[in-house]
Symmetry: C2
Subunit: 337 residues, 2 copies
């Protein structure tokens, strides 16, 4: 029961007085309660560790706020947890900061907050500190959420692109394009039945199951999709990436809808798959481990690293031809995350 | 020289492709460059410490974006550094995340980014990780900035309100109301000559100069001003706060302008002063130390903690009467930070 909050968010709830105090205590703390956050300090106090920390931030501006498979709240937790997970870190703490438009329906805010609470709880992550601002009607688009994450990184772990070497295998843990296409369908009210569901999920458990293997680098292909992320890795490692189109995990509905819309799933955003660059001898063990996890059932070796074509990504197509997957400057979808 | 960026921010610069890559490399990294950020990883890797960490987040939505004494960029750095500093921590790392409106003038973005770079450099703080989103024209109000900060907190330090005890003295390091009134004057184009300048400043150096003294708690009175922050501390410590109006640091221009506008400087936001709750025997030493620093010249003992009236703040007025400084539910100013 949220007795003292009216049905719509008011400017005074972001101004720092009694109404802000009540909003925090009666909505945010109700869902996010934990021993660190409950202290309500200007800065949360978290324990130190002798190893390293992974530290990452993302602001989420996705439209629509609610979509099949998730909402902006769940996405804001999964997105930041995944950035920590691909660094090899164990996600531990999140900050969350809300910018809310005056008039935003409190029930919708509660659904968003509840789903953030559920997602962090399932992930074993604490929301340690937060902030709320309210802006006038028309000054933001419903709600924007920033999450910033901290994860513990054992001293010896280093999954940065400098470890990528020629001969490494490229693994993709799932089907590319789901999130981007689900958002696009929801935004444009395309009648897809059953609805296309985003892959939005936390990957830390799946990726941690590979801890014993010789991983060289990991990355989650979000904005810009698989193609752009592979290009970034190729540039950062100064090596050539060769992708086998026939090896890519596929879903016939995604491919046909994307084709219909003139879109390439390889350039569409993902929120629940990872690219893993791994030593050749450990690649098939990794696939075996990944496929035992619900989020890794479609995992596949999709390509290999070469000395040739440094900084570029080459696609060996279904038709047997080869073409470069370009670092596009074209119209990628805005507000996908 | 920023050759490849056109004059106004475009949606594609937030979509994750080549234009985002260029914006990051040619604007953000130009100013923020450091060995951690330059790695451009999904999560920055920062060293661990055996002590504790202070962890804090704030989203800044101030209007106008530029005001006498600062801009949204400087404010976003000072605000988060101050939240770390009042926790007793040494500020070390910041994340920064931008939500930018399509069409935002790149030259203004550059001024904001340059002032963030200058402020962090002067403070000895590194911007370790960042994020940029661009939303359509009309979907946000120019630019919003989130900063999330990490500071090292020695194991023995604990400035939480539970340490406040009856008999403690209350110190204020400067004049209350400057930031709120400066923003209000700039927003409403009040012709104040010379312009009223915000107190926006980083307080970590000033506050660290008190490290050797018996500090019980510190807090920076931002949104809601001195009155609301004192009320929060009174509630959290379950003690009574008595403030002497005659002892408050004052500026005649601030007081007369506030009076003219029907505002109480004690409820106006500040971005460059701190409340320090300190043991009675160390209070005058603290004042001596504070007054030697440019940001602490007006520091004064403004009151004391009592067992009476727990959870409440009593003001002993200039006229010799007493009244409660209420935890107001009234119309505090929105978008002050």
């Amino acid at each position: 029961m949220i007795k003292m909050i009216t049905n719509k968010i008011r400017l005074a709830q972001g101004a720092g007085g009694l109404h802000t105090y009540k909003l925090i205590n009666e909505l945010f703390l109700k869902y996010f309660t934990n021993s660190i956050l409950d202290q309500q300090l200007d800065a949360a106090i978290i324990p130190g560790f002798p190893g390293k920390w992974a530290f990452t931030t993302d602001s989420f501006v996705v439209q629509p706020l609610f979509f099949p498979g998730g909402n902006i709240g769940k996405l804001s937790v999964c997105g930041t947890i995944n950035d920590l997970a691909v660094s090899g870190a164990k996600p531990l703490y999140l900050s969350c900061s809300f910018i809310i438009e005056e008039g935003f329906v409190v029930e919708n805010l509660e659904i968003i907050v509840a789903s953030m609470a559920e997602t962090t709880k399932n992930a074993g992550v604490l929301i340690a500190t937060g902030d709320t601002k309210v802006v006038e009607k028309g000054s933001c688009d419903g709600i924007f959420i920033n999450t910033t994450g901290l994860g513990f990184l054992p001293a010896e772990k280093d999954y940065t692109p400098k470890h990528i070497t020629s001969g490494d295998k490229i693994i993709l843990t799932g089907i590319p394009g789901r999130h981007g296409l689900a958002i696009l369908a929801a935004r444009n009210k395309l009648e897809v039945s059953p609805p296309l569901v985003s892959d939005c999920a936390c990957l830390h458990e799946l990726l941690a199951s590979l801890n014993h293997l010789d991983i060289h680098c990991m990355r989650d292909p979000t904005r810009g999709g698989l193609a752009i992320t592979l290009n970034e890795l190729a540039l950062q490692s100064n090596l050539g990436f060769l992708i086998e189109e026939t090896a890519l995990p596929k879903d016939v509905r995604i491919n046909s809808l994307a084709e219909l819309l003139g879109l390439d799933p390889l350039y569409l955003a993902n929120e629940g798959i990872a690219i893993i660059i791994i030593s050749s001898q450990d690649a098939s063990s990794a696939i075996n481990v990944l496929q035992q996890h619900p989020l890794g059932q479609k995992a596949a070796i999709i390509g290999e690293i070469f000395e040739e074509n440094p900084g570029q990504v080459l696609l060996s197509t279904n038709l047997g031809t080869k073409r470069f997957l370009k670092m596009t400057a074209g119209n990628l979808l805005p507000r996908i995350c």
